[in-house]
């Protein structure tokens, strides 16, 4: 077992950290307050290559392995104070691009992937519905074949980039009587008649990335826009969900590293009764716990990515990683807030924003309860 990074990996991570600090955090307080997505920052990240890091070179990406990519995503999360932006980048890479790359035809990949890598187009991953959250396959949206077209009808909710996406991957029932085994996946262009992107909805955290509803009302798309096989929708979703579950929280590790540096600096500078507050165990121990969570999270994430790189089963590791990283970020965010006290309660410090942003990770990509169902099931329970 080798825990060393190569000089190349170190260099890539350092570059990502420097880039994120320099170029990805401007106006985050105002954008968080207003719930505004910055297409300019998105494009900067794309121009830096982020959206192609894990894409094979033959498709225009950098072809990095997943261990290297998550290390860079972690660095991005440390340097970029906009957790919404780094979450959105991950969701695009592991949800949309993974499904497109693994199940798309040559024509579909050629049409959609380059614009995703270049950042010119953002895409939505449309599965969640009002009546199907954790029960993801209980869909009401239908796709009916009519000649050379499919007709989509239904409503998707809580869709990342739903309000502004140029295209969407849409899961719908092609055989409603077959439940999850009657689902199929489609590519739908937002400009198609019958496709309606609804306004951005306010939410607690990750406010710099737009969420919202997408509805389909007699939306006719070419039959050639079927992604994968008819009836393979659930399997396609499970596959791409596995990637997302494994890798999407990598930037949160970077945010946790940033929190530790800020907490240590604060605890050294702030003095009480003649000594820095960091000399008090009531302050020092929570920071030690923050570091423990960070290092434990790293081991889980890197192992999961390592297995994924080799095509080895990592269902258990992915569920452990998703659960641990989501809860660790919440706990460390709350600890950072407690250490900073009234200072951390102020919006200007960004500490309270991390607390709000951390909650999303407990929900999206499969709630931590669902992850525990998977873990328990794999243990034979």
């Amino acid at each position: 077992m080798n825990f060393e990074w190569t000089p190349s990996q170190e260099s890539l991570a350092a570059g990502a950290l420097a880039f994120a600090k320099e170029s990805l955090s401007s106006d985050v307080i105002a954008r968080d307050r207003d719930g505004t997505f910055s297409f300019e920052l998105w494009k900067r990240a794309a121009d830096f290559g982020v959206l192609g890091w894990a894409i094979p070179t033959e498709y225009g990406g950098a072809g990095h392995d997943l261990v290297t990519t998550v290390r860079m995503m972690e660095a991005l999360g440390e340097g970029c104070q906009d957790n919404g932006l780094t979450f959105a980048l991950g969701a695009q890479m592991w949800g949309v691009q993974t499904a497109l790359l693994h199940f798309g035809t040559k024509e579909q990949i050629a049409k959609y992937l380059p614009r995703s890598i270049s950042g010119e187009a953002v895409a939505a991953y449309c599965i969640t519905e009002e009546s199907s959250g954790s029960d993801a396959f209980h869909l009401q949206t239908t796709a009916v074949r009519d000649g050379d077209e499919y007709v989509l009808n239904g409503e998707k909710v809580l869709i990342t980039f739903g309000p502004i996406a140029e295209f969407a991957i849409v899961f719908a029932a092609t055989d409603p009587s077959a439940g999850r085994w009657g689902l199929s996946a489609f590519l739908a262009d937002a400009e198609t008649p019958g496709y309606t992107a609804h306004p951005v909805e306010d939410k607690m955290g990750l406010r710099t990335v737009p969420f919202g509803r997408v509805t389909f009302d007699g939306c006719r798309i070419p039959a050639a826009n079927l992604l994968g096989k008819v009836g393979a929708g659930a399997s396609i979703f499970s596959f791409s969900q596995g990637w997302e579950r494994s890798l999407v929280l990598a930037p949160q590790l970077g945010a946790m590293a940033r929190q530790i540096k800020e907490a240590v600096a604060f605890a050294k500078k702030r003095r009480r009764a003649g000594v820095s507050i960091g000399k008090h165990q009531a302050v020092a121990h929570p920071i030690a716990d923050m570091h423990l969570r960070l290092e434990t999270g790293r081991l889980l994430l890197y192992k999961t990515a390592w297995l994924q790189d080799r095509g080895l089963p990592n269902l258990m590791e992915a569920a452990l990683t998703k659960t641990y990283l989501a809860e660790a970020f919440r706990e460390s965010s709350l600890a950072a807030l407690a250490i900073r006290g009234g200072d951390g309660y102020k919006t200007a410090t960004g500490v309270e924003r991390d607390v709000r942003d951390s909650i999303g990770g407990l929900i999206y990509g499969g709630t931590t309860d669902i992850q525990r169902n998977i873990i328990a099931g794999l243990l034979g329970l």
Partner: protein, 78 residues
């Protein structure tokens, strides 16, 4: 991979019920005998035993609905 070997794996490892009877044409999926996690574990088991990769898009009702369907699919992959 024999139908009986598949049935035994499902009985013992997935359902934890050695008395569960599973016929070659019994519906594994629409009957919800197997949930999504169980299907994933079954596919992993088949991959390990057969030394093959089962593409996710092949995990469909047509190929995995019954033990007979699974065997037909695997024979087609041979």
């Amino acid at each position: 991979m024999s139908i009986e070997a598949l049935a035994e794996f499902i009985r013992i490892e997935l359902l934890d019920d050695e008395n569960q009877k599973i016929g070659p044409d019994d519906d594994l999926l629409l009957s919800e005998l197997l949930n999504s996690l169980s299907v994933t574990r079954l596919v992993q088991h088949i991959e390990e035993q057969q030394g093959i990769i089962v593409p996710p898009e092949d995990v469909t009702l047509e190929n995995f609905r019954t033990l007979n369907a699974i065997q037909t699919y695997l024979q087609g992959r041979a």
